[in-house]
Subunit: 407 residues, 2 copies
């Protein structure tokens, strides 16, 4: 089975016209007027596809296609909100491809055993109301509804009032599910598929992330009269920490680690740095490997501090645990690729998606589609029509497999 | 011969009372009222030591002790201006020890063949009027007098007017010299002597300094979805540059090199750094070695840029050439140490002094005295009475050697 490419691309173009920016992107912040217009279009498209639309107490929109039985549904979801001057595919593609799945099943008069639900999650981006993915988080029991209702944007506007204002405050009984499986199709937002020359990737999970602050305390001295062997140069020590962070990640398959932020004191051309503060972001899909990476880094740091006579402290202040996806759903996606004779590879998502929270309540996986230059959250974000069609073909076939299975 | 320690220390205490700060330091900015008071005290001390005092067109004060002949003088100098909340020894010690040399020669009724001149240079620090060492610079022909006269402080006050205001605008004919040799005694302002457990160091020259700005251009990307092998991380590359700068200096005797200033863009915890700009300060006493160090660094940078696929540019924007001191004057200082049975070592000055310019017009050297913790330009600056006395003993004996030599 293949989706109708032109029909899907036309839907994408129509939604991209809502909140369109001069640079070719979109701005549809959650619960804004543009979000409302986008929701109205998505609702019409769902209805045209024969889906029964319901709105829950968080504004999540669900379009349901009944199955032959009354079992839990296969849920296909993503989001239609965007960042400021974001791309036209991030989120929207996943929702519109899922609607195309329903249309295509209609075209072919396929009745699945399980119902199929298409979900447009509210506020995935978390730009206007923090945190990100808050409404799938409520459905998964991660956040309380009252917490989300009380979130305010920078102008002080409450989430609940804004949801009511745009006309999308529904009822708790209309949340998505119950779900037998959750599938999310999304652009990759990274360069892996482009580098591998592949249109489609099978996402095996969302990596665990841990953030630490590393502080190096040396001794600030005049750069002139201090011989190398008497120095306690905080930046020279920090440079070795940075190299160690990179080396640890390089020799650990699938790991990434980044020193993104670094400040030097006093930061003067002719003074040996006395203090460096830097961030370390480490990510891996296996919790044990993530812990081992941090432990190794702590050992390296202790040895460096000892060797150089400087103080180095690592403060691990935030961790988001890894979310491995369900082997059964990952396998359904891989089977779909095989069936379509589409080469693919497994990869990890380095960023969060609503699938992260859904994985806590039902078997879940994601499909990634190649993104030019790995760019996203910008107007230059781009995927080819061919790649978008192939990703949607995989979604269609994987959804059909999952929905037609007895259970 | 030994100086009279208590008499010298008493002079130091008296001058330290002028512009004294609550924290035990001094503030005597050039051509300030405190500088005038300091000069008045120094003039009185010179006269009490039997020196004939003259003031030149830059405010430099010279106290002359005649020799038996009419040959060029042995000039002993330093400065009595200070930085804001500076130490009580930086500069003042060298002037007051030189006055004590004259007193001691008087005590012992020594007549030298050459005259001995004691100089208090105007505005060595360059804090109020930039650049530093400007008045020895005029005497050495490095700056024109008009240039110096037109320098203004932050309030817009001209050097010449301020010099006239404090009553120290003399005449060109009263500049120091002609000089057969120049000797300057100074606290070390660095940790070498303390680390070597030595009271006195023989300064063989002032190092050359070169400043460069190194810019690393990588590619800013999300820290999550970018595998290590596809990154162009500007900070990871910069870390290797920092380590290379340190290694180059460590394996080159007497070299120092410092990355003191570094900024990261965009400097965000979960973004791979796209751009790093940093300073590199390299110093060495031998011009050829300094050039070789920069050339090696450029090679390392080119290889790193190639290996990592990043751009690295080195912009060498300032160089102060090295000033090796005269072997004859360095030898006189070492002979004096030997005569006093005082262990010493040779070292380079990593900072500028009036001796840098005097070395361009006559054979020159310096004597350093141990400075606790290598601290200077701060109220905590400290040298022990024993060390101060030993340094002055070396000045006395070296000056006597230089002044008594026929030629």
């Amino acid at each position: 089975m293949r989706i109708d490419r032109d029909r899907m691309l036309e839907s994408i173009d129509r939604l991209a016209a809502v909140g369109a920016t001069p640079g070719g992107g979109v701005t549809r912040l959650a619960l804004s007027d543009e979000d409302r217009q986008g929701r109205e279009l998505v609702g019409r498209l769902m209805e045209e596809a024969g889906l029964r639309v319901r709105i829950d107490d968080l504004g999540n929109m669900t379009g349901r296609r009944d199955g032959s039985g009354d079992q839990p549904a296969v849920v296909l979801g993503s989001h239609c909100d965007s960042v400021r001057r974001g791309g036209r595919y991030d989120g929207a593609y996943g929702v519109l491809a899922a609607i195309e799945v329903a249309r295509r099943l209609n075209d072919l008069a396929v009745t699945t055993r399980r119902p199929i639900e298409v979900v447009n999650w509210t506020n995935e981006e978390g730009v206007r109301f923090e945190p990100a993915m808050m409404c799938s988080g409520v459905v998964a029991g991660r956040f309380g509804r009252a917490y989300v209702y009380d979130r305010r944007d920078l102008e002080g506007k409450r989430f609940e009032e804004e949801l009511r204002r745009i006309g999308y405050l529904g009822s708790e009984g209309d949340r998505p599910g119950p779900a037998a499986a959750y599938l999310e199709l999304h652009i990759e937002q990274g360069p892996v598929l482009e580098a591998a020359d592949l249109a489609v990737g099978v996402v095996q999970g969302i990596v665990g992330i841990t953030w630490s602050e590393v502080t190096v305390e040396g001794r600030a001295d005049h750069a002139g009269p201090s011989p190398m062997e008497l120095r306690r140069d905080a930046l020279a020590a920090a440079a070795q920490v940075i190299s160690a962070v990179e080396q640890l990640a390089r020799r650990t398959p699938e790991a990434v680690a980044t020193v993104g932020r670094l400040t030097v004191e006093p930061n003067v051309i002719n003074t040996i740095p006395g203090r460096v503060v830097m961030s370390v972001d480490v990510r891996h899909g296996e919790p044990a490997t993530l812990e081992a990476l941090v432990a190794e880094l702590e050992q390296v740091i202790a040895a460096l501090a000892d060797e150089r006579g400087v103080g180095i402290a690592l403060d691990r202040f935030w961790t988001s645990e890894a979310t491995p996806f369900a082997p059964s759903v990952v396998a359904a996606v891989e089977d779909a690729c095989r069936e379509l004779a589409l080469p693919s590879r497994r990869l990890w998502s380095g960023a969060g998606h609503d699938a992260k929270y859904m994985a806590e309540v039902c078997p879940t996986a994601m499909i990634f589609v190649r993104s030019r230059g790995g760019l996203s959250h910008c107007e230059e974000e781009f995927s080819t029509a061919e790649d978008l069609a192939e990703g949607a073909d995989v979604l269609l076939n994987a959804a059909w497999r999952l929905a037609d299975r007895a259970g």
